[in-house]
């Protein structure tokens, strides 16, 4: 009688991978989104320094994406 080798995947490991993906991919996404906004903000600030506050706020708005990712990662694990 042949014995089949059964491999188990630890659910905790899969959860960790999921959590990692959630944070990693959203991090990349917000990075891509912030690239253009950031360079635009720097451009505007170079001409008019008073735009610093607005530029900073607009630049970090895509940061919400990675925060959602972090929340999802925390919920999974």
């Amino acid at each position: 009688m042949a014995v089949e080798a059964v491999t188990y995947m630890d659910p905790a490991g899969l959860k960790a991978i999921g959590a990692g993906l959630a944070v990693g991919l959203t991090g990349l996404a917000s990075g891509i989104a912030e690239r253009d906004i950031g360079s635009a903000a720097i451009g505007a600030m170079a001409e008019n320094e008073s735009l610093f506050g607005k530029g900073l706020i607009l630049t970090v708005i895509p940061e919400t994406i990675v925060i959602f990712g972090l929340v999802v990662a925390l919920l999974i694990s």
């Binding site: 690239r35 635009a40 903000a41 451009g43 170079a46």
Partner: protein, 357 residues
């Protein structure tokens, strides 16, 4: 960083839109545009005396240019030079801050100023102007730098000037110059500029080249229209007009212009009704016109207006930058008209008619 920019520029001047830093340049240009004088300023300037206007300009964005040139010049000349200098600095900045295809398109467009400067130098030599006088009229807003252009104006003869330009695209046209046919050469240089621009965007692939091409072709249409109006009104023969017409218009192709050429002025005006520009000029054109100032102002105005409305449709493209270039040039023109007009004691009404607000 600068080295990196130079490298990317040299290695791929025609690369697709991905190499361009649109977000940075358009945001910066919009901030620069917000520094331009608002339209309400012009009526205020019209009511001021020349002293008040000079004080106003000294306190505006032209302050630095006025301060730096104040040692050498005074009066209205000072402001004229300050305005020219500011224009050159601003446009060179546009070339310096852009990358990739955007940089290529802006530099091609600003070649206008290279041609302007070469024409100024040749014309200056033609009428025997002094080196200082020629240097004062140079606007080095294009690819040729001010030191290079002023070294040209220091040369004794036109032959040595043309020899010094032998490495440039202008050489084949310039070498036809024999000391007498200056106006021909000037026309050819202008034609060369627009042909060059049309071939740059001949088969536009990226979305941006398409927009740029549309912008350029509208400009060619407007140039052709004002040439047609001027020459038709002066009763110039059609063969002579045909020589001065630029190719590559958006709505007025060369074939359509050829149809318009033999018509008398009144019929010519009527046949313009089918073109989109009619909407802007219909209130002004008559079958008999004494002065074309109002018409030309209106055409420029409609060009600026369409560029500005397009810049909202395509916010991350070349259009906001071209819009800024037009508005900035226009501001400098307007200020110069007001200053020179006031200095020459012109009637307020005449100055007002010349302004494009």
């Amino acid at each position: 960083m600068g080295l990196l920019q130079k490298f990317t520029r040299k290695s791929s001047p025609k690369q697709s839109g991905s190499g361009s830093n649109y977000a940075y340049v358009t945001a910066r240009v919009r901030a620069m545009k917000s520094n331009l004088l608002p339209r309400e300023t012009y009526p205020r300037l019209m009511n001021m005396g020349i002293d008040e206007i000079t004080r106003f300009i000294e306190e505006s964005q032209y302050k630095q240019d006025v301060d730096e040139l104040a040692r050498t010049y005074d009066g209205v000349d000072l402001f004229e030079h300050a305005l020219n200098r500011n224009l050159a600095v601003t446009f060179t900045k546009l070339i310096n801050i852009s990358e990739g295809e955007l940089n290529y398109l802006i530099s091609e467009y600003l070649r206008k100023y290279d041609i302007w400067s070469i024409k100024t130098i040749l014309r200056g030599k033609y009428c025997g102007a002094s080196v200082e006088e020629i240097n004062d009229s140079i606007v080095s807003a294009g690819q040729l730098s001010y030191p290079f252009l002023s070294s040209l104006s220091e040369k004794e003869s036109y032959e040595s000037i043309i020899d010094a330009l032998s490495g440039t695209d202008y050489y084949p046209t310039l070498k036809e110059y024999d000391g007498t046919n200056l106006s021909d050469i000037e026309n050819q240089l202008d034609k060369m500029y627009y042909t060059g621009l049309s071939t740059t965007v001949d088969n536009p692939k990226s979305n941006d080249s398409k927009l740029f091409s549309k912008f350029i072709r509208t400009e060619i249409d407007i140039k052709n229209l004002s040439t047609l109006f001027r020459l038709k009104n002066a009763g110039v023969e059609k063969d002579e007009i045909a020589d001065l017409i630029l190719e590559g218009g958006l709505h007025l192709s060369i074939k359509e212009i050829e149809k318009l050429l033999p018509l008398p002025f009144s019929e010519f005006v009527q046949s313009l009704e089918k073109y989109p520009y009619w909407e802007d000029i219909s209130g002004i054109v008559r079958t008999e016109m004494d002065s074309l100032v109002e018409l030309e102002t209106q055409l420029t105005k409609s060009n600026i207006k369409s560029a500005s409305s397009f810049s909202h449709v395509y916010p991350l493209s070349i259009v906001p930058i071209m819009d800024y270039v037009l508005s900035k040039t226009n501001e400098v023109h307007n200020l110069r008209i007001i200053l020179r007009g006031k200095a020459a004691d012109l009637d307020e009404e005449i100055i007002r008619n010349q302004l494009v607000i």
